[in-house]
């Protein structure tokens, strides 16, 4: 009996083995977008949208070896949204707002993998929804994968809606950056600040968690994008979810606040920055791409898709992307400063055009984008004189430098005749951020029947904090705060306005460690050793006392090199030489097209060579030659309509839904 049982088992195993050898597997849905946890009661739903906010549904489906995918079906709450059937060819398929992409996929996927998309989906019903994708292969096997997303409801008549939204974004501005600016601009005495920054006077303040989709430490692309579309982006990506194609402009999109409110309310959009306008923060208000560095395509989309965003004001640096480049090369660098190239331009497939109403785009390095802006009705200002004399045009483009604008430290010293740095860059007449902000508000408020969204970025708080150039980022913060005052003044005169001041992330782990215990002249006479420059200079606790600066009539310190000056340390620092005194030259900016030629190539290359002759080496905790972003929460202060919603500790994506409520459902 036992022998018979053993025989039976052997036969069964043999049959199983035979079956195993011939078994075929069902398709594998390896990515489902929007990303979500399983629809469990205890799960945190990752993807959230406002009612009617548009986003793309996408699935990557990998067949078993030798099979092909014949059909992909998207369903929401059990109702079919789209059925995509494979025509059996190797060519990508496009029909209306759907696509089956078979080529141009990332490596590592199975043969015959397809990326199926249903573009510009929207759901008007508040609540949790189930997204189901069912894939069928050529063997007749099917696979289903389920995810979830939430539509966050808007409560009507909760107060008057905000007509205007002003988003003041101090890039990299943590609590320390704000405090340092207050100490320098307002002073302290007997333990009390002798004045308040404009952002300090906002009545409500909260703390924001800034993580991106794939890291606790975000870069500026998700840092801004998360605020203005309510969903987590992956680092280096803006306005999109990650995907499995190599095209940087075809990722699944999420509608921005600017696009959403333009569609629902007819709002206008203004973008003002001290950075190159292609940079992550400005672009993450209007442009959808998985590669934040694709400058040509990014600036083209500003203009090409202005009918989606309502763009009326664009100001900052970045002329290098707007000037024609017949050579399609930057080696050698064209003498007009252009860096337009096919390699970072965009062309959109039909499903994106049809679904979103987006422009098709073109590979056109020789495009004269400034001329195209002017043809579209934009007044162009290449410098501050032109900007101020432009009056109040209907639409405004201001490009004040080739790439990132000079920082406040160098602009104000240029205006004072104390420095020629702005001349070295070739742009001696650049506006300050508060001047740009005021002009933007004037333009946007002209014929402003439907309201506007304005994003103003103090970009080089971050850029100079990366470089650990203390004097420069503190002045950047002061400049940014002067712009905040302009926004507050506007909101006081136009009470249906919400102003929020925050950062996309903290940068450098900046900390106010104390103050110098010696005079400026004594500091400059110190030996370049840690024994002399650290142990006899850095005053902590009582020794720090209250550093005192004098503020000139232009609103900036007469000098940052005062006796007993404030000292800053960095918790996320790379190696640097620290001399504690201001650097007469800024550190090289690799974004500048002529950085490799004189005089810009004479500037210090990075912080680990800067001050090597007059400073002491501070060994850093992070690799590379720049300080890094940190995951520290950042403050957010609010003023005006709905400001009371911004208290407590909340996620950066929460800000989007608060703004949606304030702008549509209303708030006190």
């Amino acid at each position: 009996m036992q022998r018979f049982a053993m025989f039976q088992s052997s036969v069964a195993l043999a049959v199983l083995a035979l079956c195993g050898a011939e078994a075929v597997a069902a398709p594998n849905i390896s990515r489902l977008t929007p990303p979500s946890n399983p629809a469990l009661a205890t799960a945190t739903t990752l993807a959230r949208f406002l009612p009617g906010q548009r986003f793309d549904l996408q699935a990557t489906v990998q067949p078993d070896a030798g099979a092909t995918i014949t059909q992909v079906v998207f369903a929401v709450d059990g109702n079919t949204v789209a059925t995509l059937s494979n025509d059996g060819t190797n060519a990508n398929q496009y029909a209306a707002n759907t696509s089956l992409v078979k080529t141009g996929l990332v490596s590592g996927l199975a043969a015959n993998t397809v990326v199926a998309s249903n573009r510009a989906y929207a759901n008007n019903n508040a609540g949790l929804h189930t997204l189901t994708v069912t894939a069928t292969d050529s063997n007749g096997l099917t696979t289903t994968r389920q995810g979830s997303f939430e539509v966050v409801g808007i409560t009507a008549n909760s107060g008057r809606p905000a007509k205007n939204i002003i988003f003041m974004l101090g890039d990299g501005m943590g609590a320390s950056h704000r405090t340092a600016a207050r100490i320098m601009a307002k002073g302290y005495a007997q333990g009390k600040a002798q004045g308040r920054l404009a952002m300090d006077t906002f009545p409500y303040t909260g703390l924001v968690m800034t993580a991106s989709l794939n890291s606790i430490v975000t870069d500026s692309a998700p840092g801004m994008s998360n605020y203005v579309n309510g969903n987590k982006a992956q680092n280096n990506q803006e306005g999109v979810f990650p995907d499995d194609t190599t095209d940087a402009f075809d990722n699944p999109r999420i509608e921005y606040l600017s696009e959403y409110l333009h569609r629902l309310k007819g709002t206008s959009l203004g973008i003002v920055t001290t950075a190159d306008v292609f940079d992550a923060t400005p672009a993450a208000n209007a442009v959808h791409t998985s590669a934040r560095g694709n400058g040509t395509g990014i600036v083209d989309q500003y203009l090409d898709d202005r009918n989606l965003t309502g763009l009326k004001v664009l100001m900052g640096g970045g002329r290098k992307w707007f000037l024609p480049n017949p050579s399609n090369s930057i080696s050698p660098q064209p003498i007009n400063g252009s860096q337009r190239r096919n390699a970072n331009d965009y062309v959109l497939a039909a499903d994106l055009q049809n679904g979103w109403g987006a422009a098709p785009g073109a590979l056109d390095p020789n495009r004269d984008l400034i001329a195209d802006f002017q043809t579209a009705g934009f007044t162009y200002a290449p410098d501050n004189t032109t900007l101020q004399s432009a009056g109040t045009p209907d639409m405004l483009l201001g490009l004040f430098s080739y790439s990132n604008m000079n920082v406040a430290f160098d602009k104000i010293n240029g205006r004072r005749g104390a420095s020629t740095i702005v001349n070295d860059y070739g742009f001696p007449d650049q506006p300050m951020l508060d001047e740009m902000t005021q002009k933007a508000l004037d333009v946007l408020n002209k014929n402003n029947s439907n309201g506007f969204v304005l994003m103003v970025e103090g970009a080089s708080i971050d850029k100079q904090a990366h470089l650990m150039d203390t004097d420069r980022w503190v002045l950047e913060t002061i400049e940014f705060d002067r712009a905040v005052q302009k926004a507050k003044d506007f909101a006081q005169a136009n009470p249906d306005t919400i102003v929020i001041v925050t950062a996309d992330h903290e940068c450098s782990g900046a900390a106010i460690i104390g103050a110098s215990m010696v005079t400026d002249s004594a500091l400059r006479a110190k030996a370049a050793t840690s024994a002399d420059m650290r142990d006899t200079v850095v005053g902590v606790y009582d020794s720090a006392k209250f550093p005192a600066y004098s503020i000139a009539g232009d609103g900036y310190p007469t000098t940052t090199d005062v006796n007993y000056k404030m000292l800053i340390g960095y918790g996320a620092n790379a190696d640097r030489y620290e001399a504690w005194i201001s650097n007469p030259q800024p550190t090289q900016d690799s974004q500048q097209p002529f950085v490799k030629t004189a005089p810009l190539n004479t500037y210090p290359a990075n912080p680990n060579v800067r001050n090597s002759s007059n400073g002491y080496l501070v060994t850093g905790q992070v690799p590379g030659d720049q300080a890094a972003h940190t995951a520290t929460d950042v403050p957010l202060s609010a003023f005006g309509r709905g400001a009371s919603l911004f208290t407590g500790v909340f996620d950066n994506t929460d800000v989007f839904f608060k703004l949606g409520q304030i702008a549509i459902g209303g708030a006190r």
């Binding site: 009612p51 009617g52 929207a122 008007n124 019903n125 508040a126 409801g153 808007i154 009507a156 008549n157 107060g159 008057r160 809606p161 007509k163 629902l264 309310k265 007819g266 029947s449 439907n450 309201g451 009470p495 249906d496 549509i664 459902g665 209303g666 006190r668």
Partner: protein, 228 residues
């Protein structure tokens, strides 16, 4: 000359009495407005002259704190007229008008229709949102609210609807009692307003005003006779 002044005073007092009487008389209000009877840019209240100025007015609303006896916020809010802060509700020419050329517009902010004489019993109310197709896209995410004498939303009376893509949608309600105000959601402009009440509900203060006014008329008339 003195008699002329007295006559003017009499006229003013009589008008006050008449307005109060019209608003508080136990008779139905029947008001229809298409906003085409005034020029673009006019105050919305101008559209009421001759047809309903004594019954209602258009207010630019805001939420205010309810206050306790000591003037401290109670944590609840009420809607009230904030036209002094935000300006008057307007009639504007619009390509999105449902009929004629004009719409009732508050720059896509909410509009408050207030009954001059206090709460009324509403028989029927209807209004059309404009044909812009703009507004809140949430299904049944917009609300027509009715307010009580204190400016609070009357529970159970609100009408829910979807603004976005519903061009020219008619929003209506029947049979709401004790209504002192009607709150139109922001997001769109409006056209073709109709209000029908069963009766007005006189308030003691209004009755006192009416009686006081009639008393003043009597005094002025007596003085006038004595001067003559």
């Amino acid at each position: 000359m003195k008699s002329l002044t007295a006559l003017k005073r009499l006229g003013v007092v009589t008008a006050l009495c008449a307005a109060a009487a019209a608003a508080h008389a136990d008779q139905p209000i029947n008001l229809s407005l298409n906003f085409d009877n005034v020029t673009s840019g006019s105050k919305a209240d101008d559209a009421l002259f001759g047809v309903g100025a004594s019954f209602v007015h258009f207010a630019n609303p805001d939420l205010f704190d309810d206050l306790d006896a000591f003037g401290n916020p109670t944590g609840t809010t009420h809607w009230g007229d904030a036209s002094l802060t935000y300006g008057a509700v307007k009639v504007l020419s619009s390509s999105f008008a449902v009929s004629g050329a004009n719409v009732l517009s508050n720059g896509h902010q909410p509009i408050l229709i207030q009954f001059n004489g206090g709460p009324v019993d509403l028989y029927r109310f209807s209004v059309q949102q404009d044909k812009s197709g703009l507004g809140n896209p949430q299904n049944n995410g917009s609300r027509l609210d009715f307010l009580d004498a204190a400016g609070h939303v009357i529970d159970g009376a609100s009408v829910f609807y979807t603004q976005y893509a519903n061009k020219g949608l008619t929003i209506s309600a029947n049979g709401v009692s004790g209504v002192s105000g009607i709150l139109l959601s922001g997001g769109v402009d409006y056209d073709n307003l109709n209000i029908t009440t069963v009766s007005a509900v006189p308030e003691p203060a209004s009755v006192a005003l009416l009686l006081g006014g009639l008393g003043l008329v009597a005094v002025v008339a007596r003085k006038r006779r004595s001067v003559a």
